[in-house]
Structure formats: structure tokens, C-alpha cells
């Protein structure tokens, strides 16, 4: 399905995750963050960029991996994205929702 995000028609799934990462840009990230009531700071962007790089490398994401990344620890990850951090951050980053249980 399509959704208008930041003035553009973007392909998303039923949960609102982008299905085509090539359609993502920073404006879309800002808009999706706004929908999640998050004001993006430079720290947020560092984490989002890390998540996108992992996605490009096809590494499956989990809270444990994010915590060990050296980019952000788990406590700060929850401070940056307080509600469901991995789900929220991946949505803002325009990448699929991780299927991990841990």
C-alpha cells in the first residue's frame, strides 16, 4: 500500500514500515519520527545510520546486537526511542521490522 509521507507517495506495509528502502530520505525519517513523538537529535541519527548500515549488510538486528555495537548501549537506546526502541527506530530508518525475540 501507499502512504503520503513528507509530501511523497511511499510504499509501506500494513504496519507502516517502508517496503522500499530506496524511497527513504531524511525528510521521511523526520516525519516518521514526528509520528512517533520523537524529535531527532544527532545521537538519534547516529543510531539510525548504524541500523541502516546493518540492514544493507543484511545483518539481522536484535536488542543484544545494538547494545554490543559500540554505537549506543541498551539504556541509551531506550532513552532515545522510549517506546519499543528497535521497532520504532527501524521504522524511522525505513528498514524492515526485525523478527528477533531478543
Amino acid at each position: 500500500m501507499e502512504k503520503i509521507i513528507a509530501g511523497k507517495s511511499i510504499a509501506v506495509n500494513e504496519e507502516g514500515y517502508l517496503t522500499r528502502f530506496d524511497q527513504w530520505d531524511e525528510n521521511i525519517g523526520e516525519t516518521l519520527a514526528g509520528e512517533a513523538n520523537i524529535q531527532l537529535s544527532p545521537r538519534h541519527w547516529e543510531v539510525l545510520t548504524y541500523l541502516q548500515n546493518e540492514f544493507k549488510k543484511e545483518v539481522p538486528l536484535s536488542i543484544r546486537k545494538v547494545g554490543k555495537s559500540g554505537v549506543v548501549d541498551i539504556k541509551e537506546f531506550y532513552q532515545l526511542f522510549p517506546v519499543a526502541p528497535l521497532k520504532t527506530a527501524t521504522k524511522i530508518a525505513g528498514i524492515p521490522k526485525p523478527a528477533s525475540c531478543i
Binding site: I63, R64, I74, K75, Y78, V83, K87, I102
Partner: protein, 160 residues
């Protein structure tokens, strides 16, 4: 009447067992709740206290006796070393699927905002002191305290 559409807002997980598979089940459920934006608190009672006892938490075992799903004859499961072997095999498999060890899991839980409580009655029974327990625990509390903490719409309670 419930007008929150049955949405889960808080999971209160009681862990009463100290076998590795039960401890992991409780930890995965608590962490999974936080990953979904659900609050989570854990109450460790009876043998569940082993999961937060500093000297014991790294030495938890899977149960090889009285566990039909192990598909191991009970007599064999009771032989010396079998439980340790089964435990080390299970730990290897868990590492493969990115499952942290017990101590690291406790660190993940506390960093994620899961509150950990130790049961006063069981602590007294086992003669444990708060200093014996993992530093990340909130406090030693009574069952009544735990019920008070469970107040609120959308709270679910789970006994393991």
C-alpha cells in the same frame, strides 16, 4: 469495566523456578515486553531466586529428570554428568541464536527498564541477604508489595 481494548500495558512476571529453561522463558518474556513498549516487572521467589543470586546465576542447569520433553530415560537423566552435558549443549545452541548468558541477560533487562524484585519470604527461607543478590535488583519485597506494584489498567500477571 475494561475500556482499553485488552491492550497489555504491563507484564508482572513471577519466576519460581531455577532451571535454565524456565529462567530463560521468563527473561525472554520480560525483555520481549519492553521491546514492544510494554512495562515489565519480575518477582523472583523460591528457586527463581537462583537466577539473581550472584554466586548461582551463572551455574543454572536444565532439568534432565522429570522432563519428558527431553526424550531421555529418567534413569539416564539422573546419572552423574548428564545434566551438565545437557546444559552445556543447550547453552551452545542458545549462543547460536544470539541468546545471552544469564548475567548478560540481567544486564539487558535492567538497561531496558525491567524492574527486578526479590521475594522476602523466600529470601528469609534460603537465608539470602540482599548483598548476595545481583546489584540490579530493586529491593526485597513482600507479595503484598508486588500486588500493589501491579495496579493499573492493562496489567497481566504470569507465574512461571
Amino acid at each position: 469495566m475494561n475500556n482499553n481494548n485488552g491492550e497489555i500495558k504491563k507484564m508482572m512476571i513471577i519466576l519460581s523456578k531455577g532451571t535454565l529453561e524456565n529462567v530463560y522463558a521468563a527473561f525472554v518474556l520480560a525483555n520481549g515486553a519492553r521491546m514492544e513498549g510494554i512495562e515489565a516487572e519480575m518477582f523472583f521467589t523460591f528457586f527463581g531466586l537462583e537466577a539473581i543470586h550472584k554466586k548461582k546465576l551463572s551455574h543454572l542447569h536444565v532439568a534432565t529428570v522429570g522432563n519428558p520433553a527431553m526424550h531421555m530415560p529418567t534413569m539416564l537423566g539422573g546419572l552423574p554428568g548428564v545434566e551438565a552435558l545437557a546444559t552445556s549443549m543447550m547453552k551452545k545452541e542458545m549462543e547460536k541464536i544470539d541468546m545471552p548468558g544469564v548475567e548478560e541477560f540481567l544486564e539487558i533487562l535492567t538497561a531496558s527498564g525491567v524492574k527486578l524484585w526479590a521475594c522476602k519470604l523466600a529470601m528469609d527461607m534460603f537465608h539470602y541477604k540482599k548483598e548476595d543478590m545481583y546489584e540490579g535488583i530493586g529491593d526485597v519485597i513482600t507479595v503484598g508489595d508486588f500486588y500493589k506494584k501491579s495496579a493499573g489498567e492493562g496489567t497481566q500477571m504470569l507465574f512461571i
